[in-house]
Amino acid sequence: MAEPILKVANIETYYGPIMAIRGVSCDVPHGGIVTILGANGAGKTTVLKTICGVMDPQKGSVIFEGREIQRMDPDKIMRLGIGHVPEGREVFPFLTVRENLRMGAYTRRDPDGVAQDLETVFGYFPVLKERADQRAGSLSGGEQQMLAISRALMARPRLMLLDEPSLGLSPKLVSEIFDIVVRINRERGVTILLVEQNANMALKVADFGYVLEVGRIVMADTCARLLEKEDIKEFYLGIKEQGARGQRRWKKRKTWR
């Protein structure tokens, strides 16, 4: 197999004295979609923050396109080609949608390419074009998520980190957004690392998945095979024995929609 675009090796990350990530390793192959599943508090966001440079790991390494990036500043890592769609969207609330997108292209110096990409993201999410001159803070949660994805795309990243894009959105919106994520991956060749609690959606779009529990990877397999595993069905999809006894084991469900 070819060298992965991103290789995370044995990282340990702390919040003060609290060890949040306890030796996580994962590979993201060129052009693939990889997902990391985990319940609330498992450490998914911390893994992404460690990759994008907002947090430094105490141990381990993060290698992007053959280069160690684990101690670099986030703006530098971003310039290397890693886009980040953070948890909670983090749009600039008092800037317009268009200004937000322009900020996504802040590091670029090719106005023609930027204008072209603006049209591309408006093509992916036509609602953003309608709201182009509205303040981002006035958008709905789903629209803000679309904006956050588009804003990251404006930098033309080769790897995009997505932190729970489905959080707080209706199932219909979630599948709409995931369709676009897949298109971005296929059409623009952007490699995707998707972190999710919503295992159902994530396993459908991704090729390979990791399961994170309390800061450790406890399972790693192709998504097709993960979907068949009893533990995954029970803890992440909440479908075990459903129907057999005519009751949903709702107490065991980990994902609330």
Partner: protein, 305 residues
């Protein structure tokens, strides 16, 4: 309300003239408070630091201009320009060397630090330029009389200068890439990092702009209050009140707050007994905060930087 009723020739026309004059002067003084308040707000919105040395940057700007005009016999505008450049650069340097280290520290540490820096600037000024009171010769010494209203050019120049500066800043913050990036950084620092915006450089630029704004305020104010090492203190205190009145964090609020405080001060000085001139703005502030604790433009109306 604008003039004492004992005036023997108290015809309404004359009263009106005095009222208009007071209004112009109040507006002008208010513009100065507004500009200094703007400096407070810009820095606070971006870095969450409150810079109590803002008034002393104003004083430094006035002194550098004075030194250029009187000691080196430079043209007023040249000296003014040099002062803006020098003090802005100093503001940026201050951020890059000292203040960056205290971001995220408890507010009282920051407050103490900036108060201390202000005291150092005053000491530096008294050693360098002396502690007398100086007059800055300006091109704005004349008056224009329109229909019995005497408009002094000193005050007119303050209002015009403030309008011009605000226009330039507005255009900069809304129409340039770096200006919009400053707004973005003020609104969400983490997301700014994710966009590859050089956040630290942006902070230094914001300090430079705040310091430059203080210089403009100081030089415009110099003919009115004269120049001395303590000129920034009283102004900064009122400007701080103006920023709070406007809802600390709102730029239009800072300017409107400044103008309100300037007008109250002048009207109170003309109509109320001695001593109320300096108290009235705080009384109004107190009443306003009791009714609307978030300030005039607080929370909801925040928009620019």
């Amino acid at each position: 309300m604008a003039t004492r009723a004992t005036d023997p020739c108290g015809r309404t026309g004359r009263k009106l003239a005095i009222f208009l004059q007071l209004t112009l002067n109040g507006l002008a003084v208010g513009c100065i408070y507004g500009l200094v308040a703007l400096g407070f707000v810009l820095i606070y919105k971006a870095t969450e630091l409150v810079n109590f040395a803002q008034g002393d940057l104003l004083m430094l700007g006035a002194f550098v201009t004075f030194m250029g005009v009187v000691w080196w016999e430079l043209d007023y505008w040249v000296a003014f320009f040099i002062a803006i450049v020098v003090v802005s650069a100093f503001g940026a340097l201050l951020d890059a060397t000292v203040l960056r280290r205290v971001i995220g520290q408890p507010q009282f540490a920051v407050v103490m630090l900036t108060i201390g820096l202000g005291a150092m600037f005053r000491t530096f000024a008294s050693v360098t330029w002396g502690s007398e009171i100086y007059t800055l010769p300006t091109p704005f010494s004349g008056v224009t009389v329109i229909g019995g209203v005497t408009l002094s050019h000193q005050y007119l120049s303050i209002v015009a200068g403030t309008l011009l500066l605000c226009g330039v800043l507005y255009a900069f913050f809304t129409h340039t890439r770096i200006g919009i990036a400053m707004q973005a950084t003020s609104q969400n620092q983490l997301a700014a990092y994710y966009m590859g915006i050089p956040v630290k450089l942006i902070f230094s630029l914001i300090w430079a702009i705040s310091a430059g704004t203080a210089v403009v305020a100081g030089v415009l104010l110099a003919p009115v209050t004269l120049i001395d090492i303590n000129m920034g203190l009283a102004v900064a205190l009122k400007a701080f009140a103006a920023a709070v009145l406007g809802g600390f964090g709102s730029i239009p609020g800072a300017l409107v707050g400044g103008i309100i405080i300037g007008l109250i001060e002048l009207y109170a000085g003309a109509t109320l007994p001695e001593g109320f001139k300096d108290t009235a703005p705080y009384i109004v502030l107190l009443l306003m905060l009791a009714v609307r604790p978030q300030g005039l433009f607080g929370t909801l109306a925040r928009k620019k930087v």
